[in-house]
Amino acid sequence: MAQTNSGGQGTNGVADESPNMIVYRKMEEVIARMQEEKNGIPIRTVKSFLTKIPSVFSGSDIVQWMIKNLDIEDQVEALHLGTLMAAHGYFFPISDHVLTLKDDGTFYRFQTPYFWPSNCWEPENTDYAVYLCKRTMQNKARLELADYEAESLARLQRAFARKWEFIFMQAEAQAKVDKKRDKIERKILDSQERAFWDVHRPVPGCVNTTEVDIKKSSRMKNPHKTRKSVYGLQNDIRTHSPTHTPAPEAKQPTEEELQEQITFWQLQLDRHRLKMSKVAESLLGYTEQYVEYDPFLTPPDPSNPWISDDTTLWELEASKEPGQQRVKRWAFGIDEVLKDPVGREQFLKFLESEFSSENLRFWLAVQELKKRPIREVPARVQEIWQEFLAPGAPSAINVDSKSYAKTTQNVKDPGRYAFEDAQEHIYKPRRRRVRTCSEGSCFQGKPLASKRLTSRLSSC
C-alpha cells in the first residue's frame, strides 16, 4: 500500500510534477533504457547509394526490444506504446512526418533531449514561420515542404505580413549557421528539428499530443519553465495562453483546520473495521451470486441486443410478467425487491392481501418525500404524519417511543429527514445474504421467502 510521497514534492509541500510530467518521466525512463550501450537498441549508420544514413535503428528493432525488456505481452501492445512514444516525439521515422511505429525496416532516430516535451515547449507561430521559411531556402529535395506545410507557410505569411522581413532575416541567419555544420551532423539535427515540429504542428488528421486537459492545465505550477521561443525570437506582446494562471501557494493549515483534522482522525480510529478475509469472502460471494446477471460473463437469454440487433430481451423485461431469473433476484435481499418496480408492486400487493402493509407503505412514502422538491416538503410531511403516525391514524405504524418523540418534534419544523429515525426503526439495511428461492415464482406461492423478507422489513 503506497504511503510514499509522489516524486518531486516542493519545499512548500506542493507537487512539482503535473500529471503530464509524470508520463513524460516514465517515457524518458524507457528511452534511457533503450539508449543503453549494453542492453539497449543497437544504433548504426547505414550505407545507402552514395550517402550514409547516420544514427538509425529499425521499427522491428524497437518492437523486439520492447517485447523483451518491458512488461509487454505481444506485438500489438508494443506497437501501440511505441506509436505513443513516437507521437510524443521521443523517436521518429526519418522519412515521414506522421509519427507512428511500424514493425518493419523503416528507419527511426532518437530525439535530442533538448526537444523533449518535458522541457515544457510551447513554440510560437513566429518560430514556426522562421522554420518553414528556412526550409524553403535549402535546395534539398528531401527538405521540400509537404502540402500542409506549404499551406501553413502561406497562412503565416499573411498573418505576419508586417514583420515578414524580420522573419526572413532570421531564417537566413539560421540557414547560414546550418550550412557551416558538418554534413552528417546536419542530417541528424535537421531530422530532429523536423520531428519537433511534427509534434507541435502535427500533420492534419494526426493527434496533437501536446493538448492538455483543461482541468489540469490551469494548475501549471511553473509558467516560468515554459519555453516559447525555439530560435530566440522575442515577441512584441507577451502572449500568455489563458490557462496560465500561476497556482496559489499552498496555504499552511490554520489551528482550526488542524483541530478538525485531529477530530476526524480520532473518529476514524474509533471505527469498527472488518478483517480482510471476511471482506474478501463477501466480495467473492456477491460476484458469485450476480454472475448470471452479468451480460459480459453470462450471455443473456435470448440474446444481447447490441450483438444480435434483436431487442427481445428488452421487450421481455418491460413486460409485466417477470421471468424466472428476475424473480429469483428478488430473494437476494430487500434492496433488490425495492429496486425493481415490478418487484415492489408485487410485494406491496402481496402484503396487502396477506396482512397489513402499512410499514412498507410508510417506508415508501418517506423515500418518496426525500425525492420531492424542497417546496413540497412541509405539506407532504403533514400528510405522512396524519396517515401513519398521528393519534388515530388510519394506517398506524408501530414505532418505539424514543423515535416517536423525536419525530413529533421534527414534524413541527418539517424537513426532508423528519421521519429518518422512524424509518430506520422500520428498516435498517443489512447486507446479509438471503438464501435464494428454489423456484422463482411470485410471492403468492412462496410464503416462506416472502415472510422472511417481511420480517426483515418490520424488525430491526
Binding site: 503506497a2 517515457m27 489540469k216 480482510m276 467473492l284 451480460p295 422538491p373
Partner: protein
C-alpha cells in the same frame, strides 16, 4: 527583564493596555501598531506560543494519521487476490465495438446512460450536448451551449431531462421535449453555481436533487426546482474531479475523488466526511461504487486503478502494469462487479479482473484519449467517450 532604550517619537495611551507611556512605532502588515514596549514584547511571546501550538497540533495530526494506517493494516490478514485463487479464471472475453457514434466536432468529455438502457447523453468541448438512441445511432436531441468544455453531463432517472455543466461554473438542467422543433436551449435552467468549473454531476434517486463536484474543491447537493443549495461538502484541499452516488434504495452517501489524491466518502444528510482514503500518487480522475455499495474503485493519473472496501476501511487491490504509463481517466464495474472497465489516456480500455487483480482484456479502437467509460443500466454494453470526437459501444 531589562527594557531597551529607544527613541520615542510619540507618547500616549498604549493601544493594548491603555497606560500612558512612550510608544514604539512599529508596523505589522503595513498597519501601524502603537504599543508600549511591554505590550510589544507580550505580543512577540504570544506569537511564538502560537507558532509552537500550531507545530504541536500538526505533529498530533500526523501521529494520529500514522496510527490510523497502522490500525487499518492490522486487519490485513490476507490479500484479496489470494482468496480469489480458489475461483475459476475468467473465460477469454470477446468484447468488440458494436457501434461508433459520430457527430461531435470536438473532444467528447462525458456521457451518461438513460435508465431505458439504450439512450444516452454526451457532452463535448465543442459546446454541444447530444441525446442519442445508441441502438439506432439516431440523434434525438442536440443543443448548443454558450460555453465550450462541457465536462459533465447526466441523464435524469425519469429520462425526461438531462443536466450539463463545465467551464461556465454552473450545472443546468434541460427538460427533454418530444417536439423536435422545440429549442431546448431556451428551456435550460441553471441549478448549481460554483466558483470554478463543474467537473461532475449526477442526479440522486430522483429528478429533483442533483449532486455536483467542482474545481473549487467542494461538492454540493442542490434542489433542482428552486436551485437552492441543500448541502455543501468541504474537505478536499484541491479540485474535485469526480463523484458517484451510492447504489442503494436506502443510500445516503456518495464518494468523491480529486487532485489532492484523496477519495472521500460523505454523508449527504450531515455534510460530514465519514471516510477518507489516500493511497494514489497523483490526481484521482474518477471514482465509482462497486454494485453492492460496499466498495468503490478509482482511476488516477498515476496510471493505476485501485479498489477500496468501506467495511475493511482500506485499499484492497491495485490494478497496474509496467507497460501502462498513461493516466487512467475513468472506471466502471460490470453488473456482477467481477470486471472493472478502465479508460486510459493512451487511447485504450483495459478490462481488469477485480478479484484476481489481473488484466482480462485490452480494447483498442479509439484514436485519442478515452475520457469516460460507463456500463449500461442492464449491463449489456459499455459506452466509451473519447477525445477522438466519437463514442463507442462495446459488447
Amino acid at each position: 527583564m531589562c527594557d531597551q532604550t529607544f527613541v520615542a517619537i510619540t507618547f500616549g495611551p498604549c493601544d493594548s493596555c491603555g497606560n500612558p507611556s512612550p510608544l514604539m512605532n512599529i508596523y505589522i502588515k503595513s498597519e501601524a501598531i502603537n504599543y508600549c514596549s511591554f505590550c510589544v514584547e507580550m505580543m512577540a511571546c504570544r506569537g511564538l506560543q502560537k507558532g509552537e501550538s500550531l507545530a504541536t497540533l500538526k505533529t498530533e495530526s500526523d501521529t494520529l494519521k500514522k496510527k490510523l494506517e497502522e490500525e487499518r493494516g492490522k486487519l490485513n490478514d490476507v490479500e484479496l487476490h489470494q482468496v480469489a485463487e480458489k475461483i475459476e479464471v475468467l473465460n477469454p472475453l470477446s468484447v468488440k465495438t458494436r457501434r461508433v457514434m459520430k457527430g461531435h466536432t470536438n473532444k467528447v468529455l462525458c456521457m451518461d446512460w438513460c435508465s431505458d438502457k439504450r439512450r444516452l447523453v454526451s457532452s463535448s468541448q465543442d459546446g454541444k450536448v447530444i441525446v442519442w438512441d445508441a441502438f439506432t445511432l439516431n440523434k434525438e436531441h442536440g443543443l448548443a451551449l454558450p460555453c465550450t468544455w462541457v465536462m459533465a453531463c447526466a441523464y435524469a432517472p425519469s429520462g425526461c431531462a438531462v443536466a450539463c455543466g463545465g467551464l461556465d461554473n454552473k450545472c443546468s438542467v434541460i427538460p427533454l421535449s418530444l417536439d423536435k422543433n422545440e429549442n431546448l436551449a431556451a428551456k435550460k435552467k441553471s441549478v448549481a453555481m460554483h466558483t470554478n468549473y463543474v467537473s461532475g454531476c449526477t442526479f440522486t434517486n430522483s429528478d429533483m436533487q442533483m449532486l455536483t463536484s467542482s474545481g473549487d474543491g467542494t461538492c454540493a447537493l442542490w434542489d433542482v426546482e428552486s436551485g437552492q443549495l441543500l448541502q455543501s461538502f468541504h474537505g478536499h484541499t484541491a479540485d474535485v474531479l469526480s463523484l458517484d452516488f451510492a447504489p442503494s434504495e436506502t443510500g445516503n452517501t456518495f464518494v468523491s475523488g480529486g487532485c489532492d489524491k484523496k477519495a472521500n466518502v460523505w454523508d449527504m444528510r450531515s455534510g460530514q466526511n465519514i471516510q477518507s482514503f489516500e493511497s494514489h500518487e497523483s490526481d484521482i480522475n474518477c471514482v465509482k461504487y462497486y454494485p453492492s455499495g460496499d466498495a468503490f474503485a478509482s482511476a488516477s493519473d498515476d496510471a493505476t486503478c485501485r479498489f477500496y472496501d468501506l467495511r475493511a476501511d482500506r485499499e484492497v487491490s491495485v490494478y497496474k502494469k509496467d507497460s501502462l504509463i498513461f493516466g487512467a481517466s475513468s472506471v466502471d464495474f460490470s453488473m456482477s462487479g467481477r470486471l472493472l472497465f478502465a479508460g486510459y489516456n493512451d487511447y485504450t480500455i483495459n478490462v481488469w479482473d477485480v478479484l484476481k487483480g489481473t488484466r482480462a482484456s485490452i480494447l483498442f479502437g479509439h484514436e485519442n484519449r478515452v475520457s469516460k467509460v460507463r456500463v449500461s443500466p442492464d449491463g449489456t454494453a459499455l459506452c466509451s467517450a473519447s477525445w477522438d470526437n466519437t463514442l463507442r459501444i462495446w459488447a
